[in-house]
Amino acid sequence: MKISITISAIAACVSLLSFTITEVKLIYPGYFPFPEYDLSKNRLDTSIIALGRHLFYDPVLSADNTISCASCHSPYNAFSHTDHDVSHGINDQVGTRNAPALFNLAWQKTFMWDGAINHLDMQALAPISHPKEMGETIASVVKKLNGAAFYRKTFYTAYHDSAITGEKVLKALAQFQLTLISANAKYDQVRQGKANFTVQEENGYRLFLHYCNACHTEPMFTNYTFASNGLPVDTTLNDYGRWMVTKKNEDSLLFKVPSLRNLSYTYPYMHDGRFKKLQQVLNHYTNGVQQHKSLSKELKKTIALSSDEKVDLLAFLLTLNDPGFVFNQKHQHPPKN
């Protein structure tokens, strides 16, 4: 009896030790808010993150095994899709919205341009199931993964259980995406006292705080709400944004306020990717805003910026680029096994 107690005590210590070794914490600066994602329900673990990374880059998630998450969320574009105004799925089909950049997702409350998805875990179901994106079902994905020796092994390593389920697939994908933290732009270095803004950047920062910060609130550079920024409706797409989810009139033409971090890597801009250049975006805010009922109150008054001020504002916005994030090898295609 004593022996068995000793053995089980040792076993308990070993399992506790192995648990502490693989558990991962999100690392972010002190001036970031507390994450929205409840990590107690999906504890980060190196082997689950590694599994999620494999799934993220694997076209097995699509009906014809041609499109992976990374097809539209490329690491070199801060996980957006450069040069594609709207998303591009199986059989060369195109959707109606621009694939958003993926980073700092632990802080995001709702997902998609219209907030239709209420949790990061569930987000992947939307592109997997959309006929113009991956055109697949989660049940079929699970079946394909169960048939692959590599995944049976990788799921076993991650969950100590060989049964692959929809829950485990979604949680592993969420874990990898939770690790995509961008918090080391020049802006962050200045904030941490490790660098200084140039005079031009400093002036741009002042303009930013005056004109942009109400919605693109620092340090996340979004206030995580939905707003109408006065874009005219593209009548070939007829996308009314959040109204399509809530059917409330006041939500007509409201779209998610995106973060401005990594903006040089994430062109084209806006929910339908209509602007290729940042200059066009600034010109929209100074000259292109269309008045309508649900227009954001901050934009009801014209924003007047001289061309010099625009140059300064752009100089500041470029300090939000985080090349260390974009070229982080840990986020890229996993090495072939």
């Binding site: 009896m1 068995s4 409840d38 329900k41 999906n42 239709a116 998805i117 209420n118 949790h119 990061l120 875990d121 569930m122 179901l125 939307a126 997997i128 199931s129 959309h130 079902t137 989660i138 049940a139 699970v142 389920t165 929809g166 829950e167 485990k168 979604l170 949680k171 969420a174 989810v245 059917k247």
Partner: protein, 241 residues
């Protein structure tokens, strides 16, 4: 008492006594729980006949066939008058007509408490709807989760009737929605006269008879029609006498 005696008698064998002890405990718990298992049977019917997939039932001027019937039962509680006496531990249970086992919820009533009311919900509560990926009966591979807009489908009924002017004469009801004003979760409170044999009947024909399938044959998103339908669904649940 038998356990105690056996344990003491062969105690000096160390390990052996431990095994005997566990064996006896397991056997006695098993016997105890067997006696006190309380089964709740969900019995989908078309009037008096049990629902069978793809079988023709008389419907208005024509006939109907049912091709899918799945729904969530959650938060099952037992009451004696107004007092809560017991509850089923497993919070959410998916009933699927294709899987005979899923029609039965087993509950071990260890305390053997008396009850005369059964209270439960049809659907998935709002907290669960915003809790991320879940497993078992709530795993999204069960095709009871909307992918384009987050939320569980509480009640799914699909079938065919010539009355429907739709493609292939299909009717499709995916009833869900967890947010105000389109919350479709329904709570049911049923009087139980025979606690030894709980059978809940769900009369699908009674539901379909209230609908105008020639006009409305599709509900597949959280909206006012779904809320109206959810109330009609609640009304077709009854405790068999």
């Amino acid at each position: 008492m038998i356990i105690g005696v056996t344990f003491n008698r062969i105690n000096y064998f160390g390990l052996k006594s431990q095994i005997t002890f566990f064996f006896l405990v397991t056997v006695s718990t098993f016997a105890y729980s067997q006696k006190n298992i309380r089964s709740i049977k969900f019995n989908p019917v078309c009037n008096s006949a049990p629902v069978e997939l793809d079988k023709k039932y008389a419907y208005k001027t024509d006939s109907i066939e049912i091709s899918a019937l799945k729904f969530y039962i959650s938060n099952i509680r037992f009451y004696q008058h107004t007092k809560l006496v017991d509850e089923v531990i497993k919070k959410h249970h998916l009933v699927n007509i294709e899987n005979a086992q899923s029609l039965i919820v087993n509950h071990s009533n260890k305390k053997n408490k008396k009850f005369n009311r059964l209270v439960f919900c049809i659907g998935v509560d709002s907290t669960t709807n915003v809790s991320g990926a879940l497993g078992g009966d709530l795993d999204p591979t069960n095709s009871m989760y909307w992918t384009w807009q987050s939320g569980y489908i509480n009640f799914k009924l699909e079938g065919v009737s010539k009355v429907c002017p739709s493609g292939k004469n299909q009717f499709t009801f995916h009833i869900g929605g967890y947010q105000y004003p389109h919350n479709t979760l329904q709570q049911i409170d049923l009087q139980i006269n025979n606690p030894q044999k709980i059978i809940i009947e769900i009369n699908i024909l009674q539901l379909l008879n209230q609908l105008k399938l020639d006009e409305s044959y599709e509900i597949m998103s959280p909206n006012a029609k779904a809320v109206e339908m959810a109330k009609k669904i609640k009304a077709i649940f009854s405790a068999a006498k």
